[in-house]
Amino acid sequence: MSTTTWAWLVLAFPLAGTILIGLGHKRLARGPAGAIGTLAILLAFASAVASLISLQGQDEHHRQLTSSLWDYAVSGSIDARLAILVDPLSVFMMLVVTGVSTLIHLYSISYMKSDRGNARYFAYLNFFVFSMLVLVLAANFLLLIVGWAFVGAASYLLISFWYRRDTATKAGIKAFVINVVGDVGLVLGTFFILRYSGTLDFLGTFEAVRAGAFDAHEGALVAGCLLLLVGAFAKSAQLPFHTWLPDAMEGPTPVSSLIHAATMVTAGVYLISRMFPLFEAAPAAANVGAIVGCATLLVAGTIALTQTDIKRVIAYSTMSQIGYMIMGVSAGAYAAGLFHLMTHAFFKALLFMAAGSIIGAMAGAQSLDKMSGFKRAMPFTFGCFVVGGLALSGVPPFSGFFSKDEILAMVGAREGWFTVLYVVGYIGAFLTGIYTWRMIFRAFFNRPCPEAVELEHGHIAHAEYPTNPANGEREDTEVGFPGPEHVIADREQPMKIAMGLLAIGATILGVLQIPFVTHVITDFLEPTFADSKYVHLHASDGMIWFGMILGTVVALAGIAIAYHIWVRKPGTAAALQARFGWLHRFLVNKWYFDELIDFLIVRPWAAAGTFFRTWFEPRVVDGLFIGGATGIVRAGSAVVRTLQSGFLRYYAALLLLGGGAVVLYFLIASS
């Protein structure tokens, strides 16, 4: 079978899974739904591997294949076909997405087994994987936008999966609307590009850029790329479009692991990489991407220091790590950025899964304030969390060390003002060490909390009255979701297998790109990025050594500080909070981004709506425009009631007479 046929199969399996589980939702719930969903993704992964093998069999200059099913919208100036583009970049993304998804589906079988919405969950999760694959396989802008919006919808559905919680439905609509703003950015950006490229096809567009279609219209290209960045920022939770991501933690934990850590949120990184010929021709836009990525990694790192909800800490960490990737690919470090995307998918998915296990042990509670001393109670989860934490904070030889370091080395190699970004990147790495290990020390060290003690005695804690972890409200339990039973990884085989495999990956994947030794990712992606003007951008040997040593030092320093504050002298954190109260408030309130957006956009709009409804509509539209007409009608309403016939007929007759007279005039005039 050809490479593209395999790629179509990669799309077909998750879609088939969605439809099958959706149609059979009544019979499949609580049993085969999870197995079918997992199998569908596993088959998709197998097909992705097959397409990889098939692609590698091709000559290096022919590793860009397209295949089209039918004309989607071909009319006037648009030429959108239902077409996919298979090249090293899309195959790379396919492998990451389907690989990690398979493990997360497997984990979900245990995690969601007592949930009443089990079948719905797996139907959504399969739909998400399908959408993400559409996004990475799309061969033109229109289909890309379709995939882009589909993942947004899947994300919405899964964030508000437990839709009885109004915190979940609010988080869902927030995520959806911010992502629609991103979609609109993509659409308008596409218009700017389409205007001079004349085609929606990626390859055609790149060809046009190379041929100089934008030479006289650089402004349009920059505007187009900036609008594409709006889409990328909204999806990848970059400033100032990031506020939905922490709230998205309302979804079940495996969802956070898959969508809001490993795959969907990295779509912005993919987009910039995919569009590299455009961004390289519009350096101004690329620079904006690099700066925003850098700002995001720092802001998110500072916020993560003070959050107490374990999932939100990891969410801000995700935002921060994606900041690195966005900065990297915007600066031309494509292979490095995508390498970090891959290692991050492993260690971040792992961290979320481990967090899910702790939350299970805590009977649904998510606050770090309540957790402590789980080290002995759940050694497997502890081990996984530590591996994930080491990879995240960039300690050698874990995977995150190599990938983050490579991004920073490449950014440093750009010199000039990029040096600032380089320095901020290491400050971010330092913060990463602190907040990651703060979480680990608080959850696993010190005196065991009651739930941990109970677990050591062999029982998983059970909350008598389940509450919504976001606002402490009592849940209405009759609906059966979230499921009444809590699970921990240490006791569930599927969770263990999934986390074990991810932990291995998070540990050893660095071997793919060891400086001076291996460059598997770079070589594999080479055909896609061969035309890049940064293809020869390399950091000097000295700089690479310096970066690796600096990276190790800041990571270890961060861990040491966290150890000091939260294990050796447990009172330190409180003392710091008291001393720097204003700073703590500022960070706990997440730099007041939510309040700002609320003040600038949400409230004025809601006020406008209310004004229109309560004042403008009744007075101006109803009053002024019906004006004379209903005014008269109302004045004569007494007459109307007595006559019973209604004023209307009289009015209609009058109008007809008047109109008739005018018509008559014209007809007479014409004869």
Binding site: A149, R164, I173, V180, V184, W605, G609, F612, R613
Partner: protein, 509 residues
């Protein structure tokens, strides 16, 4: 088979139904509407895409002294709209069958009469014939609202009053304008009096006459759509109309108005269309933003859908007055899409109300999804299509509309794009507040019945099918829309669609 059979069949069936009485009428109406759908399908199958000339033409002299003819024809502009009309009327008739109506013979008679009027207006190729059918549309809805409407008597009277006054004023303005068009054309070109659209296109009026006539037509069409600020009749009118009638009113009748712009106004009054382009774009933009704001703050589900129509019709007007092929193609596709989502939406309003103790207020709903996952899923699909999520045909339509406007007047495209985001807000708000959150004690979470699925499933299937293949509509209309906007495009100095992208840079009219 001629177009006349298609047009008059619903009325004939309706007359038989009224005569045969209450027992037969509902079933007969369903059969009639399905037969009309079958005939429309046969026209679509036999239709030859790629031609910009009229097909299946009927041309009889009607009132020869005044140059009025009974001329019907199908081309790319109306072929898919005929299919849409018959499909939606079939759905609405089945929808109406799900409950009992007082004096059913008469009720279904009016529904059939309405269908004949709409089909006639879509097929008419003579200006006076169009006006006649257009005005005929009003009569059945006057009775449907007044006799079978919702709410108490006062509410019905108020709704009917506003509806009739508004549309009657519009209709009369249009009648005057139509007569004036023919008369002035024959005077200015010294020819025989004629009202055939093909002939009028060849007899352009002086710019001054075009302008006031344009305004009369625009007023009539904008009232019917309705567009801001001429939508004053909408809240009361929509609230009073019985839901099956409202579904076709909003789904099909509003499209006749938009279609009128493409069929009559752009080709016959090209100078005025260019002259008033920005005014109409402004009205369209105001409709989008105002409709969205109102839909967002409305407390009644029916009004959410109603105001969302104002916004959606705003998009369609926007596309038409981009005055280029992309905009017109997008507008035409969007007419079909909007029709397809409107009927299921109003049907869902009925289903929700029946689960919330008869109330259509959002505050009486909540948590309905729990025992009704199928209903929730279907509602969600329709909602996502309505908010034009990429992947729906609605998105393909909006994409073309915005692209057309972007090429003509970029600033309008940027502001209109806000409307895309706002649609997400108001549709999801309505969905969440009715289906999700905690169960409202006054709401009853009940799964959709098998019977009700009969209305909802066909519409969702068609929505999904068109989402997979919007080219079905686009390819049929391409040749004709190109011709329809050719004249105005020539006036704006834009070249053909292929080069318009380069051309619009130099031309900033």
């Amino acid at each position: 088979m001629t177009l006349s059979i298609l047009i008059w069949l619903p009325l004939v069936v309706a007359v038989f139904g009224a005569i045969l009485g209450a027992k037969v009428a509902p079933k007969l109406a369903v059969l009639g509407s399905l037969a009309a759908l079958g005939i429309a399908i046969s026209f679509v199958v036999r239709f030859e895409s790629g031609q910009d000339t009229l097909q299946f033409v009927t041309n009889e002299s009607w009132i020869s002294e005044l140059g009025i003819s009974y001329k019907l024809g199908v081309d790319g502009l109306n072929v898919v709209l005929l299919l849409l009309t018959t499909f939606l009327f079939a759905l609405a008739t089945i929808f109406a069958n799900l409950r009992e109506w007082d004096r059913p013979g008469l009720f279904y008679f009016h529904l059939g009469l309405a269908q004949t009027a709409v089909l006639g207006a879509f097929c008419a190729q003579d200006l006076i014939l169009f006006v006649a059918f257009f005005d005929l549309m009003l009569i059945p809805f006057y009775f449907l609202t007044g006799i079978w409407g919702c709410g108490d008597r006062e509410q019905r009277v108020r709704g009917t009053q506003k509806l009739v006054i508004y549309t009657l004023v519009g209709s009369l303005l249009m009648l005057v304008a139509a007569v004036a068009t023919g008369v002035l054309a024959s005077q200015q070109h010294d020819t025989d009096l004629t009202f055939a659209l093909s002939a009028l296109q060849e007899l352009p009026l002086s710019e001054g006459s075009q302008q006031w006539i344009f305004l009369c037509f625009a007023a009539a069409f904008l009232v019917k759509m309705p567009a801001f600020p001429l939508h004053g009749w909408l809240p009361d009118g929509y609230k009073a109309m019985p839901l099956p009638a409202l579904a076709v009113f909003s789904g099909v009748l509003s499209k006749v108005a938009a279609y009128g712009f493409l069929r009559i106004v752009l080709p016959v009054f090209p100078d005025a269309s260019v002259h008033f382009q920005e005014l109409l774009l402004l009205i369209a933009l105001a409709s989008i933003l105002y409709g969205s704001a109102m839909a967002f703050s409305a407390q009644n589900v029916r009004l959410v859908v109603a105001y969302s129509s104002v916004a959606q019709m705003g998009f369609i007007t926007l596309g038409i007055f981009a005055l280029n092929e992309d905009g017109a193609q997008g507008a035409l596709l969007q007419m079909v899409n909007h029709g397809l989502v409107t009927v299921p939406l109003f049907f869902i309003v009925a289903l929700l109300a029946s689960r919330a103790g008869g109330s259509e207020e959002l505050k009486d709903m909540g948590g309905i999804a729990f025992r009704a996952p199928v209903l929730a899923t279907l509602f969600l699909i329709v909602s996502l299509a309505t908010l034009a999520m990429p992947g729906s045909a609605n998105f393909a339509g909006e994409f073309l509309i915005l692209l057309g406007v972007f090429d003509a007047k970029p600033a309008f495209a940027f502001f209109a794009a806000l409307g895309v985001a706002l649609a997400a807000v108001y549709m999801l708000r309505a969905f969440i507040r009715s289906m999700h959150n905690r169960v409202n004690p006054s709401a009853d979470s009940r799964e959709i019945t098998f019977r009700d699925l009969g209305v909802l499933v066909p519409s969702v299937v068609v929505i999904v099918a068109l989402a997979l293949y919007p080219q079905f509509g686009l390819s049929k209309s391409e040749a004709t829309t190109k011709a329809a906007v050719a004249q105005v495009q020539a006036k704006t100095g834009q070249l053909t669609a292929e080069t318009s992208s380069q051309a619009s840079e130099e031309h900033t009219p």
